[in-house]
């Protein structure tokens, strides 16, 4: 009795696992040849090979439809994620203090301090310039370093130095060379607008502590003048006075001057010590201590970097 039961159990387990001796009266289906297309195989869904065929079927289905379904699922999920995030942020925005109200928590005693004492503490009429180039000057130094680092890395990626000659499979992007003498309108306009743009850039940089503007915006204006010159007169003409070597020397010198002068002023002028650099009278060009030279440094770095970006992306060389 016990033995019989055991035998039956064993048989049953073997039947379930599918690795024991087969019962004599079982009908063994003919296994389809493996290279037969799926649609022509006999229907053996209920046979011992049920599991294997289901897996095969699933894999085949995945090969045909998997990418499509994945892309649909991916776009649906990403749209859902974005909608959820936007809804959460909108719910947060609805709870924020009203726009433009003077009693908002953002307008606290820090702002009062900057506005009321910024004028005679930094000597700058433009409070934002005093903020970013005096109170938070090391922050701006970091920004300039970030810009310089980005320009250096783009130069390493795209520049045609000796170390950078990796064999590429595809031909390089080529912009068709055009005859510059065919563009009299561009040259005519550039001949009188380049000096004007250069002068505007210099004014914005030098008046950075008096009017809106400063090193970053003025540098961007200066770089547009360089780009216009490169377009109108050919990049060879610009290359004569601004090449890779000039850019690296100019930017690193400006950064060094920035770091040394600002570090010196922090050591001597901060922490309630009296600064030896005179503040001047608010509103004059020669006022605000170090803000004017720092603005000029930042303007040089930004102008060089933006022209470098343009030149590298346009013709892959500086």
């Amino acid at each position: 009795m016990n033995k019989e039961l055991k035998l039956i159990w064993k048989k049953f387990f073997n039947w379930v696992l599918g690795n024991g001796p087969r019962p004599e009266n079982e009908v063994i289906p003919v296994e389809p040849p493996p290279d037969l297309p799926f649609s022509q195989r006999p229907n053996d869904k209920y046979s011992r090979f049920h599991e294997a065929t289901l897996k095969e079927r699933y894999n085949q289905w995945l090969e045909i439809h998997g990418l499509h379904i994945f892309s649909i699922l991916y776009s649906a999920l990403s749209i859902l994620t974005c909608v959820v995030i936007v809804c959460l942020l909108l719910a947060t925005v609805a709870e924020l203090p009203p726009f433009g109200h003077e009693r908002n928590p953002a307008n606290n005693e820090v702002i009062r301090r900057y506005v009321e004492h910024g004028g005679h503490e930094t000597g700058a009429q433009n409070i934002v310039a005093g903020l970013i180039l005096d109170y938070r000057a090391f922050d701006t130094f970091g920004e300039s370093s970030v810009l310089f680092t980005a320009a250096c890395s783009v130069l390493m990626m795209l520049g045609k130095s000796r170390r950078n000659r990796i064999k590429t499979h595809q031909p390089k992007l080529k912009i068709p060379a055009h005859n510059l003498n065919d563009e009299p309108i561009l040259r005519g306009i550039a001949s009188f607008s380049i000096p004007a743009i250069l002068m505007l850039g210099c004014v914005v940089v030098i008046n950075g502590h008096l009017t809106p503007g400063g090193g970053f915006s003025g540098g961007a204006i200066l770089s547009t003048a360089l780009i216009l010159a490169a377009n109108a007169y050919g990049s060879q003409r610009v290359h004569q006075f601004f090449n890779e070597r000039t850019f690296v020397i100019l930017s690193s010198t400006a950064l060094m001057i920035y770091a040394l002068s600002k570090g010196y002023s922090f050591f001597t002028g901060a922490n309630l010590f009296h600064s030896i650099i005179p503040k001047g009278t608010v509103g004059n060009i020669l006022s605000a201590g170090l803000i004017l030279p720092l603005n000029i440094c930042v303007g040089l770095i930004v102008a060089g970097t933006l022209y470098t970006f343009y030149s590298l992306f346009n013709k892959g060389d500086l």
Partner: protein, 145 residues
């Protein structure tokens, strides 16, 4: 909630712009369009910061002369100067990141001839498989000798 959103419409628009940029970043297959999406997100953050710093009826934070040789330094006259500095930092970092990622995209195009990220990945895996088979072949040759 809608009335509160209309009260804060600049911030609401900034948040929606952020969502548009993020959807662009996730859904576009073209790398240049992905970078454009990143820039839209940056712009949304600048708009949010600038809106937070605004105070109705006040001037830009540049000192005004009081007519007697001095300067008006009352904080009730000027808007918040801190967001301007923060936005400046953001713009510089965004320019750097954009330039670097564009140069990476250009290198990818030079190597694989496509800006579509799926095609580039496919070509990368094909290249990897080819390299592995070649390495195996070389190892077999060396061992056979």
């Amino acid at each position: 909630m809608l009335s509160k959103l209309f009260l804060n419409h600049y911030e609401a628009v900034a948040v929606i712009l952020f969502g548009i940029g993020m959807t662009n970043l996730l859904l576009q297959r073209n790398l240049i369009k992905k970078i454009i999406g990143l820039n839209i997100m940056d712009t949304a953050v600048y708009l949010f910061l600038a809106a937070k710093g605004y105070v109705a009826g006040r001037e830009a934070p540049i000192l005004i002369e009081d007519g007697a040789g001095g300067w008006l330094t009352s904080s009730a006259l000027y808007v918040n100067p801190v967001p301007a500095g923060l936005v400046l930092t953001g713009i510089v970092v965004s320019v750097s990141v954009t330039a670097f990622s564009l140069s990476l995209a250009l290198k990818l195009y030079e190597n694989y001839g496509t800006l579509n990220i799926d095609e580039a990945l496919l070509k990368m895996t094909e290249e990897q498989v080819e390299l592995e088979t070649r390495i195996e072949q070389a190892e077999e040759d060396v061992l056979g000798d």
